[in-house]
């Protein structure tokens, strides 16, 4: 298994926020915390594009690098998780994260910052799998149930794909090849060039 990854196809995302709702519902995320959100570029302008963003489970995660108490860890499947019992809620990870993934719930009457909360790729955290404690702290552990993240599985247009990076890339490659457009978003050679033909070019005349 390679690495668990999300991929959002901007050609397909219709900004329905179904992924955001699915995540909220599945993990019972507290008020004010959005583990996933939909970002729209050029909103209102013809040709606007939306993309669903959450923790990208970076291979070399900056949040892990800057955490002063080292509460982050990476699972064998490449999911970046953290131990909320150790987190001191300092917010360094939020500064480090390029995607704004770490979220901080309001804790206490004076707007004190609580412990960090973020997308877990529906993989729970360092508690007994599928236990009440795990659900209360980290949300659902769908990977331990043989399922994929709720946001991706609920996506109506299948714009958001989640799973093993190689499989996800394969699905996206098939899609982009068949529809013949949208390749320039990621770079044809990088995203769709099969290992047996890395110099493959985008179809002529294809336009996004």
């Amino acid at each position: 298994m390679a690495r668990m990854k999300f991929l959002c196809d901007a050609e397909r995302c219709i900004e329905c926020n179904g992924c955001v709702t699915a995540c909220k519902q599945e993990n019972e995320v507290p008020w004010g915390v959005n583990r996933r959100r939909v970002v729209t570029l050029n909103d209102g302008v013809p040709g606007e594009k939306s993309i669903s963003v959450a923790c990208m489970h970076c291979s070399d995660a900056p949040c892990m690098a800057v955490c002063p108490v080292d509460c982050f860890y990476k699972t064998e499947e490449g999911v970046v998780l953290h131990d909320k019992d150790m987190c001191i809620g300092c917010g360094y990870c939020l500064y480090a994260c390029p995607f704004g993934a770490p979220q901080f719930p309001q804790a206490g009457a004076f707007g004190m910052r609580g412990k960090m909360d973020k997308c877990t790729f529906c993989a729970g955290g360092p508690e007994k799998d599928n236990s009440k404690e795990e659900f209360a702290k980290y949300g659902s552990n769908r990977l331990a149930q043989g399922k994929l993240p709720a946001c991706a599985e609920m996506c109506a247009t299948k714009a958001l794909i989640a799973g093993d990076g190689d499989v996800v890339a394969d699905i996206f490659r098939t899609r982009a090849t068949k529809r013949g457009k949208g390749a320039e978003v990621w770079g044809w050679g990088t995203a769709y060039g099969k290992p047996d033909n890395p110099q493959q070019q985008a179809p002529k005349g294809a336009k996004s």
């Binding site: 108490v69 150790m86 993989a123 360092p126 043989g146 996506c155 799973g163 499989v167 899609r175």
Partner: protein
């Protein structure tokens, strides 16, 4: 003799007095770059039927069978293969 006794008493008082000044580390000593939290279990180490609403089947402890389950589930996101 008396001065030796006095010296011993003074030494004892000083030792006892200074003992209170000793400071032990009262917080966890963090090792830079190493996860300090609790260990986590791996998803394939669970019984497939242990939780509600699970339809996926894999052999407990067998990583490859769990991966196969996820890979087949992954293909539900690929309508090009679903439709054919």
């Amino acid at each position: 003799m008396i001065s030796a006794c006095k010296l011993a008493v003074v030494a004892l008082v000083v030792t006892a007095g200074l003992a209170g000044c000793g400071e032990k580390e009262q917080v966890i000593v963090y090792q830079q770059g190493k996860y300090q939290g609790k260990p986590d279990t791996r998803p394939w180490e669970n019984e497939p039927g242990a939780s509600l609403y699970t339809t996926s089947k894999w052999t407990k402890g067998d990583k490859s069978s769990w991966e196969a389950v996820l890979k087949s589930r992954n293909q539900n996101q690929n309508e090009y293969t679903r439709a054919e």
